[in-house]
């Protein structure tokens, strides 16, 4: 560990890991939510996030708007792209009679995958596949536990938790939100209570869209993305959600921190080159000993 003392490294891991994990959590929760409600694994997830980032960057770079407007535009684009995914790809596949129920899964996977690649290609075509970063809203650094931390990193963590908190309030304190949560546990149940499932779906995808947009823009400010990030982003959301238990939002939250810290620890203590490997191994182990995931019901 070079000359850095152990305690310094400890605090560095604690602080950096937290921001990254929060970001993972935000990205994965929506993914978990829509799976719970509509049973859809959306493999265009990464592409949607990247779309949000690139939009925010382009707004700043080409329209020369301020960071706030830029972020807003990014979120809006992520939101719209997500709803398009639902209305163009997912909803038709869920309705169609041409495909047997047991085969719909592979079709939704393939279709969202294709959709994701299309978005990726379009981005590369319009703005090249170079990495893009969003102009941060807050700049400068501050010291936390003696670790020099970019204010932006703290900002990321705070916004993540505000959003997660907001989501929590929404689904636990409002009637509309509660019906969404209920639907994620038992779609049939809400129908019997006179709630239109189709409306729930749209509401869920709308929430998901917002999460995607926000997570994307934050990612763009914090680490930056390129159109190459599409695959890895989807994969990490997918594995976090499986680790937490498909459909369990709280599970995803926990898993995000497990993965986030595991990666950070590996990057610090072993080597940045091996960053993702332990998380993957853990995933395999969990799927052997507890296929349902940490908090999975299905």
């Amino acid at each position: 560990m070079g000359t850095a003392s152990v305690s310094v490294v400890f605090w560095q891991i604690l602080v950096d890991g937290f921001a990254v994990s929060s970001l993972y959590a935000l990205g994965a929760m929506g993914f978990a939510l829509i799976f719970g409600v509509s049973g859809v694994l959306n493999l265009s997830h990464g592409a949607l996030m990247v779309a949000a980032v690139v939009a925010a960057w382009a707004a700043g770079d080409q329209l020369h708007v301020g960071p706030y407007t830029g972020a807003a535009i990014g979120i809006a684009v992520g939101f719209i792209a997500t709803l398009l995914t639902y209305f163009i790809i997912v909803s038709p596949l869920l309705r169609t009679r041409k495909i047997r129920e047991e085969e719909k899964e592979i079709f939704i996977l393939t279709a969202t995958l294709l959709w994701g690649i299309m978005i990726q290609e379009l981005i590369a075509y319009l703005y090249t596949n170079n990495a893009k970063t969003v102009a941060p809203i807050v700049e400068g650094v501050m010291s936390i536990f003696g670790v020099r931390t970019p204010k932006n990193e703290l900002f990321t963590a705070v916004v993540c938790w505000l959003v997660i908190g907001g989501l929590w309030l929404l689904v636990n304190r409002t009637r509309a939100g509660k019906s969404v949560l209920a639907a994620s546990m038992n779609p049939r149940g809400v129908t019997l209570l006179g709630i239109e499932l189709s409306q729930i779906y749209i509401a869920t995808w709308a929430i998901y869209g917002l999460l995607v947009g926000i997570a994307g823009v934050l990612l763009g400010m914090f680490l930056g993305v390129s159109s190459y990030s599409v695959g890895p982003l989807t994969a990490s959301a997918f594995s976090i959600v499986v680790l937490g238990g498909l459909g369990s939002v709280s599970g995803a939250l926990i898993a995000a921190y497990v993965v986030g810290y595991l990666e950070t620890i590996t990057a610090y203590l072993i080597s940045p080159a091996y960053r993702t490997i332990p998380a993957l191994l853990l995933l395999i182990v969990v799927m052997y000993v507890r296929p349902r995931g940490l908090l999975g019901r299905r």
Binding site: G60, A131, V141, L223, G224, P232, A273
Partner: protein, 416 residues
């Protein structure tokens, strides 16, 4: 049933028909042109300049009456940064569009994949941007088959040497720095680069404290910077090409107090300032050319023309591919024929002053044939620094147009 099988038959025949349709050549072979295929990463900033610069050169040459009475014609292919697609493009260029030579790619992976094909299809190929020494080492191993490949850009080793030389003058000479940490992405082109760094940095007076290689798909550089900072070096010597924006932005965000100097391909792009939202202020990078650097009398006119025509500055691979078209034409003139072997012989005799310096190739008996000769009287390379959105050259002194300057979060000598 039989009817259905027939349908299947027609369908399959249809498929072969598609193939046949493709067979009809896109371009009729035209003996009145000297054809150059350009295979590039059109979607990447560094790659997008390659066909543009080449086109500029071709237009100029044609305006001046062409070579041996022939016009130069370019055929461009987008390889989506993929080796497989590049191979397909190369096959198309040779078998389909009957080009006489190919200018291909700034990615070592791609060039290495194409190298055997330029041998198989006996077609001259020059890379305007790949760095890996392996390209020319392969030629040394199997000259007769691979002699058709030429390395139109500095090898990693030369890049390292040029960087060390600059570091010696700027960092040790002016700032009295003593120690460095080498930080490169894990890729074939950086293997020889790092090896050379480890040799030449101590010679330049910089003691190498650590040598960090990270995966090219790293997104979070915080751990790396923290580790390096913990080792208190005076400077970070970089070897990055696949990555660029992300480490730079995070370097600025975390206000890592240690300057970055070295090979950072993406930093050579004029758009890098916007891509990083200005985070690149103070970054030092090695290059063979720069927008306002009069390396040779040809440099500035080229940049001017390029800006006029395409609205932005050329990437580093732009300069080289512009030169390549010229010395290909020159070789073609001297060879007096499009025969590949004659072209190779002619190219080996190239002695041409381009935008990046004086172009000469190393001979077949050297350890890396067809690599550019480097040195005071051929190509020295430059060391530029991003200052308020401009790429300012600091080294060598004779072509410098600015002074070293760092953002305030950089603490020079604080480390020791």
């Amino acid at each position: 049933m039989a009817k259905l099988e027939k349908r299947a038959l027609f369908a399959a025949l249809g498929a072969s028909a598609v193939a046949l349709a493709l067979a009809t050549p896109g371009y009729a072979q035209d003996s009145n042109t000297f054809k150059i295929g350009v295979i590039a990463e059109v979607q990447a900033v560094a790659g997008s300049s390659i066909p543009q610069a080449a086109q500029l050169a071709a237009d100029e040459i044609n305006a001046a009456g062409g070579v041996n009475g022939k016009k130069i014609e370019l055929v461009t292919y987008d390889n989506h940064s993929s080796a497989a697609e590049s191979i397909r493009a190369f096959q198309r260029a040779v078998n389909e569009d009957h080009v006489n030579a190919v200018i291909a790619s700034y990615i070592s992976e791609v060039v290495l994949a194409l190298e055997p094909w330029s041998g198989r299809l006996k077609t001259v190929m020059i890379t305007p941007g790949a760095a890996s020494d392996v390209i020319t080492q392969n030629i040394a191993k199997d000259y007769d088959n691979l002699k058709y490949t030429f390395h139109g850009y500095l090898t990693s080793t030369s890049l390292a040497d040029s960087t060390c030389a600059a570091a010696k003058d700027l960092l040790v000479g002016q700032l009295h720095m003593k120690s460095a940490v080498v930080m490169s992405e894990d890729a074939a082109w950086t293997t020889p680069l790092d090896a050379e760094y480890l040799k030449c940095l101590p010679d330049a007076g910089l003691n190498v404290l650590d040598h960090i290689r990270f995966s090219p798909d790293t997104t979070d550089f915080t751990p790396i910077f923290n580790k390096i900072e913990g080792e208190k070096p005076d400077v970070m010597i970089t070897g990055i090409s696949h990555v660029g924006v992300q480490p730079t932005v995070q370097w600025k965000q975390q206000e890592v107090p240690i300057p970055m100097l070295g090979v950072a391909s993406q930093a050579t792009n004029s758009s890098f300032w916007n891509d990083t939202n200005g985070a690149t202020e103070g970054v030092l990078y090695q290059a063979v050319s720069g927008p306002d650097v009069a390396v040779t009398p040809k440099t500035l006119p080229f940049v001017k023309a390029f800006k006029a025509k395409f609205g932005n500055f050329p990437s580093y691979a732009g300069y080289t591919s512009y030169d390549e078209v010229y010395y290909l034409a020159d070789a073609f003139k001297r060879a007096g024929s499009t025969d590949s072997d004659k072209l190779v012989t002619a190219l080996e005799a190239t002695d041409y002053v381009g935008t990046i310096g004086r172009i000469q190739f190393k001979g077949k008996d050297t350890s890396n044939p067809h690599a550019l000769k480097v040195g005071p009287d051929t190509i020295t390379g430059l060391m530029l620094q991003w200052q308020d959105g401009k790429q300012t050259n600091l080294w060598p002194a004779n072509v410098a147009n600015g002074k070293l300057r760092f953002p305030k979060f950089i603490k020079i000598g604080s480390a020791n």
